[in-house]
């Protein structure tokens, strides 16, 4: 009964050797363009590993000769990374799973339980996915301040949840809606509750979509700057992006350390992306665009 869909890999077609001049020219253009595109990242990586003297003496794309690992320890200490890194980890590790859980629960109910205002509720959520919160930083500050939550973890996690939920509900709703009825009907007739059906059937099959959403949400939470700027005023509560901004202001001429600071800020997001990326395009396709 294990119905595994045949894996449709078009990679097999890749091996067909066809020397089409159009494709060769296309390939050359794409590779050249890709080299230009990755150049800034290479520049950061190289500079982060050079001493300041070497930064001045060598050209930008010369690989570092003597690797200056101490840029990293130096930036870590001066940039207060211990605090900002810890804060970013705490906020992201709480917010991302919690948000995905809330969204999956709501999306299941909206997609699979007949509700009188179901469609209206879905539209209400969808609306939020389209509204940029950068527009409303002041009222968000006023609200969180009213709850006395400025400079606290809940004070930043709750708004993050609020602005992450709509898009995830939208994507997961599309996915759950497309699941064949037969899969859940038998269990429901046997007397299982919706909560059980959701947990035992729908959560497991939606893992690829959840993985794709996890990447998106991890990256946007990890990188979020504008709301943190407004809600986290005390430097002991700062997240990595706030720390980086301040580091740039203070030590902008220490190029090696500045680039080490950039690398340390960016690296965890890249790591998470690389771990989960094989789900990324397939997960997006199943929910978003085909909808």
């Amino acid at each position: 009964m294990t119905a595994i869909a045949p894996r449709r890999e078009d990679d097999a077609l890749l091996l067909k050797p066809r020397r089409d001049p159009f494709l060769i020219i296309l390939w050359i253009i794409l590779v050249t363009f890709a080299l230009v595109w990755i150049a800034p990242v290479v520049l950061i990586a190289f500079t982060a590993l050079k001493s300041n003297a070497e930064v001045m003496a060598t050209s930008a794309f010369t690989p570092p000769e003597a690797i200056a690992w101490n840029n990293f320890s130096g930036a870590w200490a001066r940039g207060n990374f211990e605090t900002t890194f810890k804060n970013s980890v705490i906020i992201t590790v709480i917010k991302v799973p919690l948000g995905l859980m809330f969204s999956a629960m709501a999306a299941y109910a909206l997609a699979r339980i007949r509700l009188r205002f179901g469609k209206l509720l879905l539209l209400f959520f969808l609306f939020g996915a389209m509204i940029p919160f950068q527009v409303m930083l002041a009222p968000i500050f006023t609200l969180v301040n009213g709850f006395g939550l400025i400079d606290t973890y809940p004070g930043v996690i709750l708004p993050y949840l609020a602005f992450g939920v709509p898009y995830q509900v939208f994507i997961l709703h599309g996915f759950f809606k497309a699941v064949p009825k037969e899969l859940s009907e038998a269990a429901l007739i046997d007397g299982a509750s919706h909560v059980t059906v959701f947990r035992r059937i729908f959560l497991p099959i939606s893992l690829p979509v959840l993985a794709a959403l996890l990447i998106l949400d991890f990256v946007s939470t990890w990188n979020e700057f504008a709301m943190a700027l407004v809600l986290l005023q005390d430097r002991h509560m700062w997240t990595l992006p706030l720390g980086l901004m301040s580091f740039q202001g203070q030590f902008s001429t220490d190029y090696g350390q500045l680039n080490a600071a950039i690398a340390m800020t960016v690296f965890p997001a890249i790591l998470v992306y690389m771990i989960f990326q094989r789900y990324f395009v397939s997960g997006l396709t199943s929910g978003a665009v085909k909808g």
């Binding site: 794409l30 930008a60 002041a138």
Partner: protein
């Protein structure tokens, strides 16, 4: 009797499942949107317990007395138009190219997507450094190519600063459009493409009459998302120029933030926010109606 009981209990379960998401969303996303409208009719410094009701005064002020508002509005419009044209077009071309059976297309996709993962504030830091008039990469490269005449103060010259910033923005977001188009291209019927090719259609004809029609929905999504993400350009402006030099790269989202959180005039800041919200709604509401109608027709 039995049936209605089931319905009742399933309604209770639905409520329980939707509850947490709805509560947090309504409180922390929808309420501020309502609050910002109230604030825009008030005079308030953000701390004082007393908020003075001033009617349309804030709107009158920013529309008639605030020269920066008009600069910010013009920049926001320019930025949005550029953001709807360039990143999606480049993203579409890349997606079409990387959808071909090419050697190394998977790592190339990863390269183009990489900047999307980098924090916008880090992108701002990276590009600010590359634009540095003395030590920056751009002027170094121009010097070594013997093109000293093209050397500029990329972020310090108010004629070009906005466009310099936009180049960084494009670098970051092209991969985003590309991935959406790649996902959309998976729904293009391969046999249709092959049949058209065998019948002698040129590559352009296949694109025009087979691929492009199939990408209609994706195209709409990409354009709407590009518009919205351009309206929220905040981090990159804050990090690269802070709206300078002399407010020449100011944008509405940043100006609303500065009015409220730095000048402590919540009323005027909120009035700017409301104007930006209205602009957003004129794009979002028609799109939502269109997408709902589309879904209804499909059922």
């Amino acid at each position: 009797m039995f049936n209605s009981k089931i319905m009742q209990s399933s309604r209770a379960q639905a409520l329980m499942l939707i509850g947490p998401a709805l509560a947090v969303y309504a409180t922390f996303a929808i309420w501020p949107m309502i609050e910002v409208v109230f604030l825009s009719f008030q005079h308030w410094n953000g701390l004082d317990p007393h908020r003075e009701w001033v009617g349309l005064e804030n709107y009158r002020y920013i529309l008639t007395n605030d020269a920066v508002f008009w600069v910010a509005l013009r920049n926001t419009i320019t930025w949005t138009i550029l953001a709807v044209i360039f990143p999606p077009t480049i993203g579409l071309l890349l997606a079409l190219g990387l959808n071909q059976q090419l050697f190394g297309r998977v790592p190339m996709r990863a390269v183009y997507y990489l900047p999307v993962i980098i924090a916008p504030i880090a992108v701002a830091t990276i590009w600010r450094w590359m634009y540095d008039p003395f030590f920056g990469l751009f002027n170094q490269v121009l010097t070594s190519l013997g093109l000293q005449s093209l050397i500029s103060d990329w972020l310090g010259d108010r004629e070009i600063a906005l466009y310099s910033m936009f180049v960084a923005y494009t670098w970051q977001y092209v991969g985003f459009s590309m991935v959406l188009f790649l996902a959309g291209l998976q729904s293009v019927d391969r046999s249709l493409v092959e049949a058209a090719r065998i019948d002698g259609a040129s590559r352009w004809q296949v694109f025009r009459h087979v691929t492009l029609p199939a990408l209609r929905v994706t195209l709409a999504i990409v354009l709407v998302l590009s518009t919205i993400s351009s309206l929220k350009a905040f981090d990159i402006v804050y990090g690269m120029t802070g709206g300078g030099p002399a407010q020449s790269t100011q944008m509405l989202a940043l100006w609303a933030f500065m009015q409220s959180m730095q000048i402590f005039d919540f009323g005027r800041g909120s009035a700017i926010s409301v104007i930006l919200l209205l602009v957003t709604l004129t794009i979002v509401v028609p799109y939502l109606r269109w997408s709902q109608r589309d879904e209804g027709a499909g059922e």
